[in-house]
């Protein structure tokens, strides 16, 4: 093995090692789906005269299926993440069937939904999510791309 090749292997090994340990780890929840797949926001009632515009809201059910087979037996914290898509923030508040934690999440942030050891190859739950936003969108529609990430111990 010449020097260049040996160096390449070493560098590669270091990179692989760091990649394996780096948090957070993006989780695959491509088996999830929402009901309905698209939703229209509704106006919230206006407050008494002079109050701030309360904005819009919508409700959606999310059937979650998170692939955790590569993490079975490991412990850590799983977060739901909502990347910021525009200046107008979205607030998501949800309840669960008990497998994951209920919570609240605002654009650009993440919220803990599971902590502890992962015992199963999939984490499944159903979320009832209330989405709220101000009346300050950039356009008439947008797409929210949630995802899950793991901070492994």
């Amino acid at each position: 093995m010449n020097t260049v090749r040996l160096l390449s292997v070493c560098v590669l090994g270091l990179l692989l090692g760091s990649a394996a340990l780096a948090n957070p780890q993006r989780l695959d929840d491509s088996g999830s789906h929402t009901v309905p797949p698209n939703v229209q926001m509704q106006w919230r009632p206006l407050p008494p005269s002079g109050g701030a515009e309360p904005g819009m809201e919508a409700w959606v059910r999310v059937n979650l299926r998170i692939d955790t087979r590569q993490w079975v037996g490991r412990s850590g914290r799983i977060y739901m993440v909502l990347p910021r898509d525009q200046a107008s923030s979205i607030e998501a508040v949800w309840t669960t069937q008990g497998r994951l934690l209920p919570g609240r999440l605002v654009s650009g942030d993440r919220t803990l939904v599971h902590t502890g050891t992962i015992h199963t190859a999939t984490l499944e739950d159903q979320l009832l999510v209330r989405l709220r936003s101000g009346a300050d969108w950039q356009g008439n529609s947008r797409r929210l791309n949630f995802h899950f990430e793991l901070d492994a111990d």
Partner: protein
Amino acid sequence: MFLVSMCEGNPVNMKVIQSRSTTTSGRPLAAAVLLLLALVPTLNAHAWSIGIAAASRRVFLHVGNGTANANNGTINQVSVTLTGAQMLAGTPQAMTSNSTQSASLLDGFNTCPTPASQVIIGASYRRSNGGDGPASATLRVTSPTNLVSAAGDTIPFSQISWTVSAPGSGVPNVIPAGTFSGAAQTLTTIPANTYIENCHSFIYANSAVRAAGTYTGQVTYTLTSP
């Protein structure tokens, strides 16, 4: 050489890259790069997403008896009956209303405590973004030229004016007082995502002696966001 990398639990696409000792000097590095690329966690997809549409642009107007967030076909009536002496005196006469709406449709506040002499008018305009319509909506009222009796006699609609009030409000004249013009007239503009309301009390000017009879006419309030 076989390079087999075991990466604990990392959700990546693993590949085994084979290179031979007889490869040219550039191939090991290329293989390493390929492996690195293969090991980059898949950052796309694998997430739940939802398309959301903004609430539709909306105007809401109620005049007199109304229903929150629903249509109400009620047309309220304001009236005054003059005696001969009152007509001859020529003094303005307050009109009464058959409206029973005293509470705000917004928050239930007792905005018009005496609906028998007041007509509550409230309006809102909402849009989800700057491209979803103009910055304000326009509140107008349109009146015919005259009130007309069964005999065909007329009274100019301009004989009727109104004052405004809104107890407890810092802007009781948010819809200003005025006089019907016998045509379309703008009352005010409503900035996006606001609600306005106040009470209108109508007055007959009684500035001329009229033929006996019952004179009627109907005005129409409109809120538009073109």
